[in-house]
Homo-oligomer: 299 residues x 2
């Protein structure tokens, strides 16, 4: 039987903590706002301790799906830290160490998007697949790349949100919102980019608003590039912006047009509806992924 | 001691066959034009048989770095075939089967760029690295993606040459030369694209010709995207166009400018000269990579 573990989705806005062993065995869940690091981490620890007592069962490991940037180099003195975030109070903050000290169990740690991808691969949309991509389009754009069942880190880690894609200034004169790169993918297609371009947030724009055609174009160009670069078996698109479900059929159609029959795979040509998909674990991809990586380190 | 094997770089223009076990132990080499499949493959087989006799030693496996598209699905009835190539006589041609039948040894088989990347990883520029990219810019543009020491195939295989990158039509009104995608990366930056844009082939254009600034721009945008998508430890740029060595400093400088300090890695910020590099096995990357994959299947 899968062991009882804790999962933390440590987001910049809120923390989600789960106790369980799988989507069918969630014993407890709590959500609370991300405040000061010590306060927030202590609250998570208290929750896990209370649940252990209540359940009369030991939590054997903790997994953390963490907002970034984070230090993942095991030989670095700041391994397990959040590093240079602009989020007040959180720059250069250890996450793994205090959790390990307060709970006395192994702590697995990775980027929020990567862990959400692992969750979707273990129990969600990409169950059974070895090579897939999980993209989240929200306040920022991030991507988890899973190859041969494992997240790609490489030199540092992928930063898919900042790739450059064609930007037709006649159709969309918006200069882009990325402080580093202007009109990179994130600068053109993140939630804040939509809000800056149209003067109101996406969730206030109707389904037929021209915003969504432009948004679908950038998402399609990025997904197209990822398909050609990584040849994934599936592309999962999550995050706040993708709550606009009308984007999915537009993206699928446009990606097919961009590919122009170049990739001769039935998974794409005949089954695009199950190739470019929303996450199937809903708002629990990150928390369940955290449970999955917690189980991995004690297996 | 490493076993004696044969390596074939099966290109669309020429075949290169090597017998040996490493770059320091090349026992024989032959280069001949790619003509009809049966004639060409028989010539390779004859060469290997002659060398076995001459050396008094058995060649224990063959590796093939093959031009594509090829079928790499081991459960497919056409595994080891060249599939839909426009090259006369070569469409739907078995490569692995006749070599195996005529030589009676195991045959390893993969894309030319992937195998060249494996060669550079085993003995060349990327020796000891686990995650890197080998791009070839010539008649076409192709990329081998190595993650955790293994080539990425995924659903089909990467087709990095066809990603979309920004194309400033005012600076470069050339519409692109790709029959599928017009101004994709290959459509803008391959050897034929250079020739179409300027009316003469790249090797006839002087070092100070504006062609090279435009070429460096597209190569930089593509390399930038690959860095953000895969976080490689190194990017190797090979192929005929990269014989223009003046491109390297331009690309390194432009990639740094595009990144704009976003990726905080000393490998990039302080050592860009050894991060974006030419192949170090010269015109033997493919042949030596073929030797490497031949050794892998018998190990």
């Amino acid at each position: 039987m899968a062991k009882l573990v804790g999962g933390i989705e440590a987001g910049g806005t809120k923390f989600v903590c789960l106790v369980g062993s799988s989507p069918d065995d969630i014993r407890a869940e709590i959500r609370f706002p991300t405040t000061h690091p010590q306060e927030t981490l202590t609250k998570a620890v208290q929750f896990f301790k209370e649940q252990e007592e209540k359940l009369g069962e030991k939590i054997e490991a903790i997994g953390v799906a963490c907002f970034g940037p984070i230090d993942l180099n095991p030989s670095s003195p700041t391994y397990g830290y959040i590093t240079t975030t602009p989020k007040p109070g959180w720059a250069h903050t250890p996450v793994v160490k205090p959790l390990h000290q307060m709970l006395g169990v192994p702590v697995a740690f990775d980027h929020d998007v990567v862990v959400a991808g692992i969750g979707e691969g273990k129990w969600g949309a990409a169950q059974g697949l070895k090579d897939f991509i999980y993209l989240t389009i929200g306040t920022g754009i991030g991507g988890g790349v899973i190859i041969s069942g494992k997240p790609v880190h490489g030199l540092v880690h992928p930063e898919i949100g900042h790739i450059r894609i064609p930007h037709d200034l006649q159709k969309d004169p918006f200069p882009g919102a990325c402080p580093y790169h202007g009109d990179c993918f994130e600068g053109l297609a993140s939630g804040p980019a939509i809000e800056k371009r149209w003067g109101k947030p996406g969730h206030q724009l109707p389904v037929e608003h021209p915003a969504w055609e432009i948004e679908a174009e950038y998402l399609s160009l990025a997904v197209y590039n990822l398909i050609l670069t990584l040849s994934p078996e599936m592309v999962i698109l999550g995050g706040g912006v993708m709550q606009q479900l009308q984007l999915f059929p537009r993206i699928r159609q446009r990606v097919l047009a961009l590919l122009n029959q170049y990739i001769q795979s039935p998974a794409i040509l005949e089954n695009i509806d199950s190739y470019i998909v929303p996450p199937s674990l809903g708002n629990r991809s990150g928390g369940l992924g955290a449970i999955a990586i917690a189980q991995q380190i004690i297996e």
